[in-house]
């Protein structure tokens, strides 16, 4: 099957479908959610029924509705954080590769220092100091991930800046941003697109981890990570409640990775070959 001239594999198709369902349900949550996500509607831990598909949570709220709204928050936070990581990381990485010398040395050493500490640890310190809010979460995760994106972008650009078309643009007297945006970026797009997908699924897990630790999304709002935490009490009781948000996290991560694999396979295909 061909889409936009690219051959779509079965795994890629499944991956895209998963992403479409998750993102679609998040966007449409206010219209498709059967109940108010924050209103108690009955007994705690009520079993799934026709009325409440996934049952009720520990204070009697509808799990299914909370999942829809929770996905909305998780996905938005992860997406915005990833966008920020790329905006900062790609520009810095390309500039380091292109300018070399002290710019490269300075940026690379800063990256080394930041990455010398586990990212989760850095995030915990920042958030516990500043306090948690959507903006803080996005900024913290985005900037920490920008360091990782910087390394990837720098490595990708290193292979491109040595090519003579970049040299030709420099000899022409083109400015830094023209070279980055017009000569390097279009040729770096396939590996960076794959990295974007990968980074997104990590950011998404990161938000979930922070929420699980109690530093992410604050009650009564739900995201999938905090829902796993809240319903964790139900595990000893042998209830399935925590499995729904956990499964949703796993599903979206797997879907994104399927698409990433496909993007990478497109990139590794020999190009410019008409034989």
């Amino acid at each position: 099957m061909n889409v936009l001239g690219y051959r779509l594999t079965l795994t890629a198709l499944i991956g895209w479908l998963i992403i479409l369902v998750c993102v679609g349900s998040a966007v449409l949550a206010p219209w498709i959610a059967p109940h108010d996500p924050n209103a108690p509607l009955g007994q705690r831990w009520e079993a799934p029924s026709a009325e409440h598909w996934f049952g009720l949570d520990q204070i009697g709220r509808d799990m299914f509705s909370r999942m829809l709204y929770g996905g909305r928050i998780s996905i938005t936070l992860a997406f915005l954080a990833t966008c920020l990581a790329f905006a900062v990381g790609v520009v810095a990485g390309f500039a380091a590769a292109l300018l070399g010398r002290w710019v490269d040395v300075a940026l690379s050493r800063i990256a080394d220092v930041i990455l010398s500490m586990p990212i989760l640890m850095s995030a915990l310190i920042v958030i516990s100091a500043v306090g948690s809010s959507a903006a803080v979460l996005i900024l913290t995760i985005g900037l920490l991930y920008a360091v990782i994106v910087f390394r990837v972008a720098r490595a990708v650009a290193m292979n491109i800046v040595v090519l003579e078309y970049v040299e030709a643009a420099r000899l022409r007297g083109e400015g830094l941003f023209w070279v980055i945006l017009r000569e390097i970026l279009p040729n770096a797009l396939p590996p960076l697109a794959a990295e974007f997908g990968l980074r997104f699924s990590f950011a998404f897990l990161f938000v979930a981890s922070l929420s699980f630790l109690g530093l992410g999304v604050q009650p009564p709002d739900a995201d999938w990570g905090s829902m796993v935490k809240e319903s964790a009490l139900a595990i000893p009781a042998g209830l399935a409640a925590p499995l729904y948000p956990a499964a949703a996290i796993a599903l979206l991560t797997i879907g994104v990775n399927m698409v990433v694999d496909w993007l990478l396979s497109l990139h590794s295909r020999p190009h410019g070959d008409n034989a």
């Binding site: 078309y165 030709a168 000899l171 007297g173 034989a275």
Partner: protein, 548 residues
């Protein structure tokens, strides 16, 4: 394979057909209905441009096809054995032992972690032809035959400790150690400098003659094959064009294509030169005692002074490592000079690229060796050629397009290519686009860095003609960097010969390429293979006399 060869034929290839099979199932024929025979001790030269199927045929004699390729038709009979019917084990006992292969790049063929002895002797040990001590004795004998220095200890060295020419000869020793009946030489001297090529070629020729080994000699250079081959087969697009005795092909080619190849090679030996234009008052580009090096390393160019007049072509010639490309980088400012001066139209140019004005950038343009990497694969020809116009002259989109079309007419590209990307063009067409991009800036000087080296001879010839035509029309000056003296003869009216960073000869081509020569220029000139089959012997005889 212990049978005694009663038949005279060593190798009989019949109606060979090799196809590339794409993932989608599409098939492309690489070699189509090629037949030839080879007698013991005979050397057959395979000649053709890139994509002619020469290497594919060479590998097929080892019943090997590159990944994605398949031998789909015909027969290969070697000493009475039908090779395509052999099983995997029988094929392996053939490879290296009976048929051996010598590749273009020895540097890529040797494992850097093992000594030359280990790698040269490996084949013989693998096939159980001899034991370790016998193999060493044989290796030393081959090293001596191949004129390698200190043959007794040469094998103790690692690949990085010997020169490119020596490594290429070590590969020949590796191929010969199991005493094969057939050697396949695949462009074995193409990557070498001309002065090295002469020595390596001489060693190969002696080796083949003394051992009476049959060989397939694959090359794109008619003059090289003229020195070693008894018979020559000309190939084009996977089909045989003609086959015959070497002297017949070289002196009385029957087919038009062969005639073109021979004519092109003879033109490279021409002794009529383009005279320089009268020395007008001021050179458009000049360097004065320029010195440059990479970081704190040794001087890569040392006190080089050249002058290029408007409308002239100055060739900078030299072998790899002579500093000729570095000179170009210094002139454009990619590598800041340490001493001396670079003058454009009498004015000193800032050493660093970043400190130069837009106008200074515009007036010196550059064309590269590899058009594949000189063009952004994601841009269309309109983007590529149009950018300098928009950038330097602030033209509207419509004006840019009109000018791009005019330039495309000038370089003989169809106008409907304007929205194509580089991947959809041939090598020669890509190089034309690079020329158009340089012209779009309306420069006074174009620096051509080995612009024809990566192209097939006939295509390269067209590019040279185009460059000369453009020079006549626009009066642009060329600084032509090349290692190929044939190119110099055809295009340059002045020449600078570089050797280890220094300029050893400089002047009108007529004067530099005629006696009295500088000794290095003479060595360089005499090393360029000529199409006469007695050329190599003659050169070696002359050099031996000089040594005595």
């Amino acid at each position: 394979m212990a049978e005694t060869a009663t038949k005279t034929q060593l190798l009989d290839v019949r109606n060979l057909r090799i196809e590339a099979v794409a993932e989608s199932g599409a098939r492309v024929t690489l070699v189509d209905d090629v037949s030839f025979t080879l007698n013991p001790g005979e050397v057959l030269g395979l000649i053709g441009e890139s994509g002619a199927g020469k290497s594919t045929i060479g590998l097929s004699t080892l019943v090997y096809a590159r990944s994605g390729c398949q031998i789909t038709g015909g027969q290969i009979v070697f000493r009475g054995h039908v090779l395509r019917e052999l099983g995997i084990e029988a094929r392996q006992s053939l490879r290296g032992a009976k048929v051996a292969y010598i590749a273009q790049s020895a540097a890529a063929a040797f494992n850097p972690a093992h000594t030359l002895y280990d790698q040269v002797c490996e084949v013989a040990l693998q096939h159980g032809v001899m034991n370790a001590s016998q193999a060493r004795v044989e290796a030393v004998r081959l090293f001596r035959e191949l004129d390698l220095p200190n043959p007794e200890t040469f094998g103790n060295r690692y690949p990085h400790q010997v020169s490119g020419g020596q490594l290429q000869r070590a590969m020949a020793a590796m191929a010969m150690i199991a005493k094969p009946d057939l050697l396949v030489f695949d462009e074995p001297t193409t990557a070498l400098d001309v002065t090295t090529q002469v020595e390596v070629l001489a060693s190969f020729k002696k080796l083949i003659r003394d051992h009476g080994t049959a060989a397939l000699y694959i090359t794109h250079d008619l003059a090289v094959v003229a020195q070693v081959a008894d018979r020559i087969m000309v190939l084009r697009h996977g089909k045989m064009v003609e086959e015959g005795a070497a002297t017949q092909i070289l002196q009385q080619p029957r087919m038009d294509y062969t005639r073109m190849l021979v004519a092109e090679r003879v033109a490279a030996q021409a002794s009529t030169f383009v005279a320089p234009h009268g020395s007008s008052a001021q050179p458009i580009l000049a360097t004065r005692d320029v010195v440059a090096s990479y970081r704190s390393g040794p001087r890569v160019i040392d006190n080089v002074s050249i002058e290029l007049m408007r409308g002239d072509t100055l060739a900078v010639v030299g072998e790899s490592g002579s500093g000729k490309s570095t000179l170009a980088r210094v002139i454009v400012g990619l590598l800041p000079r340490q001493e001396g001066d670079v003058l454009f139209n009498g004015e000193s140019l800032p050493p660093r690229l970043e400190s130069r004005s837009k106008e200074q950038h515009r007036r010196i343009q550059m064309i590269y060796q590899m058009p594949d990497v000189a063009l952004n694969p994601r841009q269309t020809l309109l983007d590529i050629i149009g950018r300098p116009i928009a950038f330097y002259f602030n033209k509207s989109r419509r004006e840019v397009r009109a000018r791009v079309e005019e330039l495309m007419r000038q370089i003989d590209l169809p106008l409907d290519y304007i929205s194509r990307r580089p991947g959809e063009l041939s090598g020669g067409q890509k190089q034309r686009v690079c020329i158009a991009r340089a012209l779009a800036a309306e420069p006074d000087v174009i620096i051509c860095d080995e612009v024809t080296s990566a192209l097939d001879p006939l295509v390269a010839d067209e590019i040279l003609r185009l460059l000369r035509r453009i020079q006549d029309q626009t009066g642009v000056g060329y600084l032509f960097i090349t290692h190929d003296l044939g190119t110099v003869r055809r295009i340059a009216n002045k020449v600078a010969v570089m050797y280890k960073g220094q300029m050893v000869a400089y002047g009108a081509t007529q004067q530099v390429f005629n006696p009295p020569y500088h000794p290095y220029t003479e060595l360089l000139l005499s090393s360029v293979p000529e199409i006469r089959s007695d050329w190599l012997d003659e050169v070696l005889r002359k050099r031996r006399k000089v040594v005595r």
